[in-house]
């Protein structure tokens, strides 16, 4: 038997062998062939923790930080270790009741399990922080305080310039694949935060950590050999004068519009006010979401940087440029006179462009008194110059002058969302009227800065710098230099002096004469600043919203002093009514005075206060604000009614239907209110773009402005 069975030992060995081969084959597949497991293992055990460096600061020209980093403190709890503390005492410190305490602990456990820390209270207010910090030892292990860096704005100003940071979304990630962002990161969304993101963000560090099966950190991987240190973001040195910026924002209180002030010698922006503005601190911290939606839905559009992202017809401020072109082309001299008997009849007597002060004007007095007829004649001569073979070529030549003056294209300022503005081209007119079916008289209102032409406040300020410098400018910019060098070449374009065309100094002198006259005896004479020679130009811009004429925009642009200018500035007050000299000019004069003299003369303080107090919110926006408020009210009323209805239904089952019908009837009455204003949610372009109004003014009787 034993002998017979001996062969079976071989069978058994064979079975053993086969089994082992199967196991080894499986192992071979797991360990050698299939590579996914080591990746899975890494995902399991290795945590690549990003170390966020502090973002760079933004400093003004006096090296004061206008954008800073501070720490906020979160109280963290590890529920499993928070047992056995003096809950009553703790609750007294935190100003909560025990029910709330237990609710938060349970929430923490639900969110993060009991052995991992979660936020108990975010962003502790300073007093609470101090109280807790003092007594923290009583709650050791269970509670600790975690610092979290946030952005702070020591001056609460320049919100639209510095911008804000926000959590990156999927679109941002798609656009910035090489940026090394991951969801949950913060990045600059607007303003300098966005345009200098590369410099501000610094270099992220990586800490490679090992975690266990509960995601608890066990230590660093390979003793930190694979870690990378974070490098702090670079500081930005700007040309902003934060005091002037604040002053400008104060002057623009309750007005819609903007101020842009440029140092003509460097192109550095000294102040850029967009009004209404907001407290930049609102967009940090825990209330961010709520505040953002509040700002976003505000009809006055506080999040819009009007200095670059709004464009208007330039109005009479445009006349200075026409004088430059006319003199350069030789169609006029400083002694050329045109008379205005009440209107410009160069295009026939019907629909004649009126002027306010009939009389005879030289170039200087034409600028000083902002004579429409004078500049209509100048442009007519430029366009109808016999040296041009056609209307197309003459307009194109004029366009090139405008482009040279920095209009009709983006200047390239270092805050995002800059607009181009518009300079009408022959192609535009061909499209509208058909080739050869238009001429100067079709667009004659362009000569006085109305109609098809539109500019941004920044472009006007830059144009002032150009005139002040007598023929050159630097691209306006806010950041002068970057701490640690401009590694990404962000500032290169701001270092090049731009001399677009050669105009002789005498031409500029003539225009300067006219602009000085504006302040001494012309439309801006009310805004003289004792001791400073200002050259300025007013503008009163007619505008329309959906064909309905709105109150005029008040424009003023200037540079000062005339000799060796240090500031080129412009101000627009949207839909203020009245004239450029009424609101914008005083504001500009105050800004100039503050910048050059550092203080406001005691005699002019009253003016500053008057300007600050006056409220000039455009009527359309006021209406919308009211609608929004009443909508809010309607919603509240509806909510109350609904609660009431529910209560009624709870108690009065028998009268269910009747009650409901009644409430509904009541409801509809309330709802009618918003329906009367169908354009509650208009998009922002309607508000500020002259797109509509351009067509409106085209065939309209051109009226007077000064």
């Amino acid at each position: 038997m034993s002998v017979f069975n001996q062969s079976r030992s071989r069978v058994i060995r064979l079975i053993f062998l086969i089994t082992f081969v199967v196991i080894i084959a499986q192992l071979f597949y797991l360990q050698v062939v299939s590579g996914k497991f080591s990746q899975l293992a890494d995902d399991n055990a290795i945590l690549r923790k990003t170390i966020y460096p502090p973002r760079g600061l933004v400093l003004d020209r006096n090296k004061q930080a206008i954008l800073n980093n501070t720490l906020t403190y979160d109280l963290m709890v590890t529920p499993s270790q928070a047992k056995g503390i003096d809950t009553t005492f703790f609750c007294r410190l935190m100003e909560i009741d025990t029910a709330e305490f237990h609710k938060r602990i349970i929430n923490a456990i639900l969110r993060n399990k009991s052995f991992r820390p979660s936020v108990f209270e975010a962003s502790l207010p300073p007093q609470k922080y101090a109280r807790i910090q003092e007594n923290l030892w009583r709650f050791q292990n269970g509670f600790y305080i975690q610092e979290r860096p946030i952005r702070s704005y020591p001056f609460d100003a320049a919100a639209n310039i510095v911008g804000y940071i926000g959590e990156v979304d999927s679109n941002y990630l798609k656009k910035n694949v090489d940026g090394g962002y991951q969801s949950g990161d913060y990045a600059g969304m607007t303003g300098l935060e966005a345009s200098y993101e590369k410099a501000l963000m610094g270099e992220r560090g990586i800490q490679v950590l090992i975690k266990d099966n509960f995601n608890r950190i066990q230590g660093s991987y390979e003793n930190g050999g694979m870690d990378k240190e974070a490098v702090a973001g670079n500081n930005l040195y700007t040309s902003l004068d934060i005091e002037l910026q604040k002053f400008g924002e104060k002057l623009m209180t309750n007005k819609v519009g903007s101020i842009v002030a440029i140092d003509p010698k460097t192109g550095g922006i000294i102040a850029m006010v967009s009004s209404p503005t907001y407290d930049p601190g609102e967009l940090t911290g825990t209330e961010r979401r709520k505040n953002f939606s509040k700002l976003y839905t505000d009809p006055r559009l506080p999040l819009l940087n009007r200095a670059v992202n709004a464009s208007y017809s330039p109005g009479s401020t445009f006349k200075t440029l026409q004088a430059l072109v006319g003199l350069h082309e030789g169609v006029i001299t400083t002694n050329t006179t045109f008379s205005c008997s009440g209107a410009f009849y160069g295009c026939g007597s019907s629909n004649a462009m009126k002027c306010l002060d009939p009389g005879t004007y030289f170039l200087k007095t034409g600028i000083t008194h902002s004579c429409n007829t004078y500049f209509a004649n100048v442009m007519q001569r430029v366009i109808n110059n016999p040296k041009f073979p056609s209307q197309d070529s003459s307009l194109r030549s004029w366009d090139n002058f405008m482009y040279a003056f920095g209009l009709g294209h983006r200047l390239g300022v270092d805050v995002p969302t800059e607009q181009k503005g518009n300079i009408p081209t022959p192609e535009d007119f061909n499209k509208i009227y058909g080739a050869g079916r238009w001429g100067f008289c079709t667009y004659r209102s362009v000569s006085i800065g109305q109609g098809e032409v539109s500019v941004t406040p920044l472009q006007v300020a830059n144009e002032m710098a150009y005139i002040a410098n007598k023929g050159w400018y630097f691209i306006p910019h806010i950041v002068d230099s970057i701490d640690g060098g401009d590694k990404f070449g962000l500032l290169d374009k701001y270092k090049k002096k731009i001399v677009p065309i050669e105009l002789s100094d005498s031409i500029f002198e003539a225009v300067h004469d006219g602009m000085q006259g504006v302040m001494e005896s012309g439309t801006g004479r009310g805004s003289k600043v004792p001791g400073i020679t200002i050259c300025g130009k007013t503008g009163t811009v007619e505008n329309y919203f959906r064909g309905v004429k709105q109150p005029n925009h008040s424009f003023f642009c200037a540079f000062a002093p005339r000799e060796n200018p240090t500031i080129a500035i412009m101000c627009v007050v949207e839909n203020s009514g009245r004239f450029g000299g009424t609101y914008a000019a005083p504001i500009v004069s105050l800004m100039i005075e503050k910048y050059i003299n550092d203080t406001i003369d005691t005699k002019r303080i009253a003016l500053a206060e008057r300007m600050e107090k006056i409220s000039l919110i455009p009527p359309l926006m006021l209406q919308k604000l009211r609608t929004k408020d009443s909508l809010q009210k309607v919603k509240e009323v509806e909510k109350e009614l609904r609660i009431e209805l529910k209560n009624m239904q709870d108690t009065l089952h028998s009268e269910d239907n009747v009650t409901e019908a009644e409430i509904k009837a009541g409801n509809t009455k309330e709802k009618k209110l918003p329906k009367e204003n169908p354009d509650t949610k208009r998009d922002k372009k309607d508000l500020i773009l002259p797109g509509d109004q351009r067509k409106q003014t085209l065939n309209k009787k051109d009226t007077v402005r000064r």
Binding site: S2, N5, I23, I24, L30, Q31, F37, N44, D212, G219
Partner: protein, 398 residues
């Protein structure tokens, strides 16, 4: 054991002992790697019997001492006490029912102070001895089916008890004793049929019911085609093939689902499916898992164990991550890794190469035991040796 050299030292198969010591060494290293945390004082914990590896070391020493005593004892002693031992083993297994303490889902452990005692594990030795004793009896004629049935009963009784203690894994160990019986003359047909049934059940679990039915049909058709000449002569072959086919499909389509659904407990079915890395399809509609439940199961359930151990072994690569550098096993991703899943430590730390070495050692051990067994003169010794080999084999291949 080698009868020609009565001296004890020469009776030892040194290569076997060497392999044994080597394997214990690897085991110790693996446990050490799995449980060691930075900063532990190795010597202190070794002396204080606190850590798993020090425990294992002391067990090794105790084992060696016991081994010495066994060497000194006459083999007839074991033969004489085998039945007594078996009775004791069964008794201990029965004692579990009133005295067990529930640890980690099994009900098979008796707690004696700080010492956990699992009779089902101990019983293997007694069963091996008792089986050897029964087979070596003069009056046993193993070619008779009656004795075969008795032998099967001896092995399967503790298996049934183990199942009742929800220790399915341990129960399966006892099936390995069929290898011993096979060596002693159990007809090959039984082994073949056993394998076939096992293969069919595994196939049922792994392959989708319909495709398996199709596969079975194709196999049947092929066999009929190949045997068409014989079938022409004897129609009985055709009938039996069709009968077998029907049986297989029946088992696959109805019997297995019926057992899984109605006879076995839900967690048992789940465990069986986890063994193959699949989800249990026999959940009733009402209790079909929600997404969260599935996720929870992934995180904590038994399929998590299998998944994590696969990840651990798989991430070892060819040469492994090196001692104490294995992330998965060191940071407790693999549960119970110091015991049931200890192989993961080797797989991750030393990679395919290390695993090969370990498996190679075990294979040599098995072959060596078989060789030694064949050298034995007494059937009892041979059977016992085969029993040991079988148990080892089962544990390894599991």
């Amino acid at each position: 054991m080698n009868q020609r050299n009565p001296a004890i030292s020469k009776g030892i198969d040194w290569s076997l002992a060497g392999i044994y010591v080597l394997l214990v060494g690897i085991g110790l290293t693996a446990i050490f790697a799995a449980t060691y945390k930075e900063g532990d004082s190795v010597i202190q914990s070794f002396l204080k019997f606190r850590t798993d590896y020090s425990k294992q070391f002391y067990f090794f020493i105790i084992g060696t001492v016991i081994g010495f005593f066994i060497l000194l004892t006459d083999s007839k002693f074991f033969s004489a006490t085998a039945n007594l031992g078996y009775v004791l083993g069964i008794f201990l297994l029965l004692m579990v029912f009133p005295f067990h303490s529930r640890i980690k889902g099994t009900e098979s452990i008796i707690k004696l102070g700080s010492f956990n005692f699992q009779p089902a594990e101990f019983c293997k030795i007694f069963v091996a001895l008792a089986l050897a004793k029964y087979l070596s009896r003069q009056e046993t004629d193993f070619s008779k089916s009656r004795s075969q049935l008795i032998a099967a009963g001896i092995t399967l009784l503790p298996a049934v008890l183990a199942i009742l203690q929800s220790e399915t894994g341990l129960a399966l160990v006892y099936f390995s004793f069929f290898i011993v019986m096979y060596r002693e003359g159990l007809p090959s047909v039984i082994l073949l049929v056993g394998f076939a049934i096992a293969a069919l059940i595994v196939a049922t679990i792994v392959i989708a019911p319909n495709s398996l039915a199709i596969i079975l049909t194709i196999i049947a058709a092929c066999i009929i085609y190949m045997l068409r000449r014989q079938i022409k002569r004897r129609h009985r072959i055709l009938t039996s093939i069709i009968f077998l086919w029907l049986l297989c499909v029946g088992v696959q389509r109805f019997a297995v689902p019926y057992i899984f659904k109605n006879i076995l407990q839900k967690h048992q079915v789940e465990r069986i499916y986890d063994l193959f890395g699949k989800d249990n399809p026999y959940l009733k509609k009402g209790e079909s898992e929600t997404v969260e439940e599935t996720k929870k199961k992934l995180e904590s359930g038994s399929s998590y164990n299998v998944r994590q151990s696969k990840i651990a072994i798989g991430s070892g690569g060819i040469f492994g991550k090196g001692m104490l550098k294995a992330t998965q096993t060191r940071y407790d991703f693999v549960p119970e890794q110091r015991t049931d899943f200890i192989f993961c430590t080797v797989g991750e730390g030393f990679g395919f190469t290390g695993s090969m070495v370990l498996l190679g050692l075990y294979l040599i051990l098995l072959f060596r035991i078989v060789t030694v067994a064949e050298r034995q003169r007494s059937t009892f010794s041979r059977c016992y040796a085969y029993g040991v080999a079988a148990v080892f084999f089962f544990h390894i291949s599991n």
